[in-house]
Every structure is written in structure tokens, then in C-alpha cells.
Amino acid sequence: MLALIPLLPFGGFLVNAFLGKRLPKSVSGGLATLMMVLSFAIALMQVLALAGMPAESRQINQTLFTWLTAGDFSLDLALRLDALSAVMILVVTGIGSLIHLYSTSYMHEETDAEFARFFSYLNLFCFFMLMLVLGANFLVMFVGWEGVGLCSYLLIGYYYEKKSASDAANKAFIVNRVGDFAFILGTLLTVVTFNSLDFNTIAMAVKAMPEEAAFGTLSLITLLLFIGATGKSAQIPLYVWLPDAMEGPTPVSALIHAATMVTAGVYMIGRNAMLFEHAPMTLHIVAIIGAATALFAGTIGLVQNDIKRVLAYSTVSQLGYMFLAMGVGAYGAGIFHLYTHAFFKACLFLGSGAVIHALHGEQDIRNMGGLKKYIPVTYWTFVIASVAIAGVPLLSGFFSKDEILFETFLEGHQVLWGIGILTSLLTATYMFRLVHLTFHGEERFHGAPAGAETAAAGAHHAAHGHDAHAHDTHHDHGHGHGKPHDAPWPMAAALIVLAVGSIVAGYVNIPHALGGHAGLHEWLTPVFNVTNCGEVSTTGELAGMMLEPCTPVEERNPEEHAGLELTLMLVSSLIAIAGIGLATYLWLKHREIPARLAAQYPGVHRLLLNKYYVDEVYDATIVQPIKVVSTEGLWRGFDVKVVDGAVNGAGYLVSGFSIVLRLLQNGSVKTYAASIFAGAVAVLAYYLWR
């Protein structure tokens, strides 16, 4: 049953991949969506079954077959559903279903074959993502890990005829390889250290170990795994691929590069919480990297003009939040934010997709504005999601973000908390900059009422202009340059569901300070704190055989810090509202101020606009040296001289010998007979003189 959850999308993939060319769009898209919905339904059933189990032994295991055996080391292709993966599969299948639905409308301009290709990739991605989250050991997880990377590559490069798209795909793939390499090393080190790859076994083994004070094996393993996570989840220093990944179709950005795949790193850390818990040095690094990424990406997001890029940097920033949470040991909070973020970020991306759709491929926010009255559904859902991400109270983002900040503060990381708050301000600001520039103010888009075109729109098309999504301009055909139209029903439905989700998703985990009982936290606690009590849980009668009681490592009295928590909540709420206000002031009321500021500090502005020149720095420090070494050293030096030399040398050697051997192999039967004759004489001689 558990295996069915990933296998259904896989079936969809097979059908679309091999028969897709001959299927009409309604069939291929419908099939793909149906598979995801079925998968979601099964996931829901499984999670409900899981919820019916006692909290300490919430696990469903399924071993498909023994994958490999080497000596005493054996590895199963096993799936495991526990509290943590339950959250993940619901997010993946649920949001995945919505995005599939959305895509059937968004991609309908494609030809049948291309359409089927898109959905086959999408289904394949879901399969791998589900394998990743359901895998019971590192190897299964790694299969998913690599698989989602592959699908990400395929989908970013979906418009492979476009150079920028294929470049972006290559970049994503290569940068991910760096992280994956570290991940493999970490995995191998795990095998060496624990002689197992099963998460449960490892966690139990780690539990018996003392916390590492110095940098030891555990720290190395976790650090390597974390490097893998920075690659997959776009953290410093390997975040550079994510903004470029926006070359893919917008639903892809929503599904892969916002809601699911990029959170794999966070999930991985949560999955190995016990391991990371015993490597405090790595945890510190995780927290610092997370906080730095959050701030760093937030500042870049403040000045970007491409609607999707703003959202991409926002994603990087929010992922930073999650890592911050993981780093300070607030695993539940991190996962919680992952979960809420999936809703509002997917909603934002899909909303931006709807905007792009409405404007026939326009992505530059300087060429938008005043769209509110043309596309109300998109507008309202977008605003709801923006409010949620900004952290306005009573929406989902508020609960999760607030919990992270509170935990950070509580763990004693006041500096990181400060960065978090700053980032929170930035988040609110750049999100509402986006909202205002897109939906409010004067209309600056093509085909807008005459005279609305402003000078601001004239000074456009910076480095990454609006044609980054050139394919979408194909929408022009048949639509003409009429008024922007709102999303068709499949898109609208997805948007509305996600918007509702953005509002209510947080209510599963209302903190104690607000009179709730932190349901999600409670749900997840056994995963992070307890290891050995789930081992035998698949068979109910064995649940009593627990080795030790599943108690949290440290009990925290929820009431103890209620006051502090409330105070911090107030602060962050105010910050959020201040950010919204600032944005409204700067980009709606007094639009000349940002320009003046930019003019006043041209260096800073250019720095931000060019994303701190990170790409250029990487290019200069890594790409170019590698190119030089490859060209001059490996190609002209090693390959031409050594490899070709060896090959040619072998050839010369053979032909040299052949000149000699040719004398024997002269084709003359008699010469052969003569050699046989000589051989006979020799053999006879040997036997006689022996």
C-alpha cells in the first residue's frame, strides 16, 4: 500500500513517456493529475492509519526486496512512513495534485507530445520525491535525491531550445552535483561508521554516543550531509542555481523550486535529527548559514525586477529560515515552516504564473501595475499569500516564522534572532513591493490604456529582461492584445485552495502561548527525540516490547516562556506590519524615493541588483580556472599528449611489431607448413632429449 504512493505517479510517468505522443492533452494531463490525486488519497489513508497508532510507535514499514548484500552488510529497498514523512507526503501529493491541475491549464498551448513530456517529467519528479521522503535508508533516499535532481534538470531545461533555459538546467545540475558528491561521501562515511544505512538503526546507534565536543566523525558526516543539503536546498554557497531555475515553466517553479524539492535538505536534516543533535558544531554552522542565507537572499530580493526572481530569492530566504530553525535544534519549527511555506510559496508562484499568463509572458514588474481590477482572483490569492509570508498575525506564516524566531531566541542565539527579525522586515517589504508594483498603481503593461505608459517602464529590460520567459509569449497567438484576463478555472481552483491553505495551515500548530496545544509539534516530537520505540511498531502486539520509554530528551514547560513568546510575537508582528507599511510608502505612495535612494547609493544598489556579484565571483574563481585547467592542462596537455600519445604509441608499437610478424603471416600456405614442420621437429626434439 505504501509503495503505491510513489508507484502511481511512476505509472503515470510510464504511460506519458511511452504513449504520450499519441494521447490527446486531456488524456495525458488528466491521467497525470488523476495519478497524483489517487496518490494523495492513498497518502491520506495511510496517514490516518498512522494517526490511529500510539504516538510512540507511529511507523509503517514496507520492505519491497533486499537490494544488495555484501558480507554482513545488507540493504533493503524499504519504505517507511512516520510522522515526519507523513507531513512530507501530504505536502508533496497534495500540493503536487493542485499544481498538476494548474498545469493542465497553464501548459495547454503546448503540442500533444510536449504536453505529455511535461507531465511525464512532473510525474517522475513526484515519484522520486516520494521515494526520497519515504525511503527508510540513505540509499533509497539518495535514489530519490538524485532522481529529483534529474527531474529538476529536465524541467528547468524543458524549453531546451532556449539557450538560457538549457544553461540554467546545466547550472542547476552541476551545482547540485557538488552537493550530491558531499552527500555521497557523507553516506559512505555513515556506512563505514555504523555499518548500516537505515535511519532507525543509525539513530539508535548515535543515541548511545556522547555529544561530540570537538570536530569528529559525526560532525564530518553531518557537515557532508549538510553540504549536500545546501546544494539541494539552495543555501550559501550553492544557492546560485535556484534563481536561474526560474527558466522552467512556472508550475515547475512552484512545485519543485518552492514547495517540495528544495525542502529536501531540510527534511533530510529533520530525518537525521539525532545525528545532527550529536554534532553541535555542525548545527552551529547550519544555523549560521541559514540565517546568513535568509538575510542575504532577502536583500537581493528587494531590488529584483523579475516577478519570478523575486519569489526565487524569497524562497532561498525562507529556506534559510528553515535551516536556521534546524540549526538551533527547533526541528519541529523548521518542518512547520516548510509545511506552511509550501502553501503560500506555491500559491505565490502559481499566482505569478497567472499574472504572466494574463500578460502573455510578461515577467518584469516594471511593466505591470494596476492589474488588480483585471484579475481579481489572482490578486486576492496573491495578497493572501503575501500577507501570510510576511508574517501578519493569524495567518500560517506568522505561526511558523514566529516559532522559529522564538526558538532561536530561546536557545540563546540573540544575534541570529536579530538577523531573523531583519529578514522578516525585508520579507514583508519585498513581498509588498511586488504586490504594489504588480497589482496597484498605474497600468504599465503592453496594451494598457493609452498614456499609462510611464518613464519607469521605459527604463526597463535590465540584465534579465522580461523575455526570460520567451516561450510564454507564444500565448499571444489567438489571444491578441486584449485586456488581461483572469485565470481559467483549473488555475483559479488551485490558487484558491492554496490561498485558503495559506490562511489555515498554521492552525494545526497554535503555540501554547496562544492557548493552542501545538498539534504538529506533538505529532513530530517522537520522530526527533525518540529512536528505538518505533522499531517494532508495524505489528501492533509488539508495541509493548519497547526497549525504553519514548520520552523527550528535555522536557520544556510550555507555560514557562509564555510571556517571552508573546512579547516576541508582538515584536515580529509589528515588524511585519512595519515592513508592509514601508513597502506601501516607498513603492505605492512615493515611488520617487526608491529611485532617489538608488541614485544616492549607486554602489549598494548595483551590488544588490547584481546579486552581490556572486555568479561573477564563482565564474572567476571556479568556472574559469576549471576551464583553463581543462583546456590547457587536461585537453591540450593530458589528453593530447598523454592519452593520444599512448593510443598512437600503441598503434605505432603494433604496426612496428606487425612489420616483423608480417614476415611470418605472409599468406603463403607453404610457409605455414614450414613453420608447422619446424614445430614438429622441435616438439620431437624436446621429447627425445627430455
Binding site: N666, S668, A685
Partner: protein
């Protein structure tokens, strides 16, 4: 005994002279016929060796089938004379050095064989010293052939099929 020796020497003479003529005749037809004569001599020797079945088989298979095939080919090609063109004369194998080496090898082989024979001790005994009344029995031959040599027999049948197919393929006229 005298009869034995007489038979042996006469058959041996036929065989050797026949073989020599095979090698010395210029005309391949005569070579083939000489070889047939030589085979008859051998068949006689086989009879002396109390192997009548082998003798008859020698006639049927060698003289009756293989040699007919040779004769057939000779007549079909109708190119009996040897050609010893200039390129053939200048062949490396006919250089004085090669000839000398070849001669040396032949002498060496002869010496080796002579020495081997001189060292062998039991060559003097009569070949039919062992009394075995069934040695010329075709029945026994068949029994041994189809029991102890079963595998070799089967393998030989495969060889025959392969040869047959090969010959057909080779001799077939290309359809070009």
C-alpha cells in the same frame, strides 16, 4: 611367414611407388590415379593386419568417394599444369637460405626419428603376436565405436555437417 612377408613387401611397394608417383607426376589426373593405386596397396596392408573392414572402408571412402571428388575437381577445373611464374620462383621459400634451412630441418627430423626408432625396444615383435580372433570382427568394431567412442562419433557427425554446409556455400556461384 613367408607369405606374410611377401604380401607385406608387395603391398608396401605398391603403396610407396604409388605415393611417390603422386608427388612426382606433373599431371594431377595421374597423381590422383597413383594415389588410388597407393590406397589399394594400403587396403592390402590392412587386410594383412587383419582389419578387413578398414580395408574395405579405405576403398569405399577414399578410393570410391574422396578420390572421385578429386578427380571430379581436376576435370572440372581442367587446369592441370603447374604454373611456376617468376613471382613464384622468387618466393622467399625458394631462396637458397630458406632451402638450406629446410634441408637442415629435414635432416634433423630424420635423425630424430632414427634415434627414436633405435631407442624403441619392442619393435622387433611381430604385429600379430597377440592372438585375437575377434580383431577383424565388424561386430566388435561396431560395438566399440558406438559405446566407447560414442562422443567422438557424434562430434564427427557435426563436423561432417559443417563441412557439407561449408562446401556448398563455398562452391556456390555468387549471384552477382
Amino acid at each position: 611367414m613367408a607369405t606374410d612377408a611377401l604380401l607385406f613387401y608387395s603391398f608396401a611397394a605398391v603403396t610407396v611407388i604409388g605415393s611417390l608417383m603422386v608427388v612426382t607426376q606433373k599431371n594431377p589426373v595421374y597423381s590422383v590415379l597413383s594415389l588410388i593405386a597407393s590406397f589399394f596397396g594400403l587396403a592390402g596392408l590392412y587386410v594383412v593386419l587383419e582389419a578387413p573392414f578398414v580395408a574395405v572402408a579405405q576403398i569405399i571412402i577414399y578410393a570410391g568417394a574422396i578420390m572421385v571428388l578429386f578427380l571430379f575437381t581436376v576435370m572440372l577445373l581442367n587446369a592441370p599444369r603447374e604454373d611456376a611464374a617468376e613471382w613464384d620462383r622468387s618466393h622467399p621459400l625458394y631462396r637458397p637460405m630458406a632451402v638450406r634451412i629446410g634441408a637442415a630441418l629435414a635432416v634433423l627430423l630424420a635423425l630424430e626419428l632414427g634415434w627414436a626408432l633405435s631407442r624403441a625396444t619392442d619393435l622387433g615383435g611381430a604385429v600379430n603376436a597377440v592372438e585375437n580372433p575377434t580383431i577383424s570382427s565388424v561386430t566388435l568394431l561396431g560395438e566399440v565405436l558406438f559405446t566407447r567412442y560414442m562422443f567422438a562419433f557424434e562430434v564427427t557427425s557435426i563436423l561432417i555437417i559443417a563441412a557439407m554446409v561449408g562446401a556448398v556455400v563455398l562452391a556456390r556461384k555468387r549471384e552477382e
